[in-house]
Symmetry: C2
Subunit: 202 residues, 2 copies
Amino acid sequence: MLLPEPIQNLINALARLPGIGPKTASRLTFFLLRAPEDLSRDLAEALANLKSGTGYCQVCYNITAANRTECEVCSDASRDSSLICVVEEPLDVIALERTGGFTGRYHVLHGALSPIEGIGPEQLKVRELIARVEAGGVNEIILATNPSLEGDYTAAYLRQRLQPYSVRLTRLARGLPVGGDLEYADQNTLLRALAGRQELND
Amino acid sequence: MLLPEPIQNLINALARLPGIGPKTASRLTFFLLRAPEDLSRDLAEALANLKSGTGYCQVCYNITAANRTECEVCSDASRDSSLICVVEEPLDVIALERTGGFTGRYHVLHGALSPIEGIGPEQLKVRELIARVEAGGVNEIILATNPSLEGDYTAAYLRQRLQPYSVRLTRLARGLPVGGDLEYADQNTLLRALAGRQELND
């Protein structure tokens, strides 16, 4: 039996999300069918506004509201602008902010180097990071990419690129489980990793 | 740190879906943020069309396209109209149709009796089922509510209501795991349950 088209369309669209298979997709669809009208409406509106309502901070490339050119961290004068924490994704910024243990600024690369997937330095916000360093006033850069193969590779690459500048380079302490994902780390592990960050300059 | 409103809105909306917590909701949101524009657009459109594009069959109350008054099964003259399979949800119809082992019609109750949740016969399509029986031509009714407490209770209630009519009443064979959910049963279990259905009339 064929399902009515509006139902099949929603199942197909939901099944394209990560971690949602066809069974979960039809479960969610039939849940929405029974749920009050405002839930589907809220979801549809939130989805429609997602991209139009958000933009990137023109300093650190973190996600921000579309009507702002700088994110909350970059526009906060009390944050230490001589300390930059380089992360892969906006979700990593949220995880670090949640610890309350970091007072510097961020730089979001939007990914990690991956020769296999064809992601080179041009696909990441590397040039923008170098420009921030060249503009001066930066004393230390924490290379807080994920403790995974790609993250380590990206940190090694950035270390090489940043070596010519007189900037202290550090990496988050290996309290993080190797092969893991930064955003899933618990707050204490992240705090210890911040405190025990290691010198990269020899 | 506060997230930009459009992002927080989508996380909140997604977290209202069953089986999706705040962590999964933010994962999905940031995935959509990076994903091609057409995925969020497809999802938003499918959500907006879900309720307006669907309706209920005026005979069996299965889900159907909004421009039809009868579902595919009810408008198929080759299906046996003397045999009605009563199920709780439209998803159960899909599960039974997938077996290819049922040639009769359906009746969708849209739930099960649950005194705890305050769901009585008036909230279900019970009156409509009685009306179909009273209209005549029905020889057998399979009470295929879920093999759970509420499902068994609903079947017992319907048995009592349908006793006065000269209709054969059956229940799906207990090949189904007790406490389970009909739509998750595999096809062979469902086929065996259809074949071994049991008499309720004594």
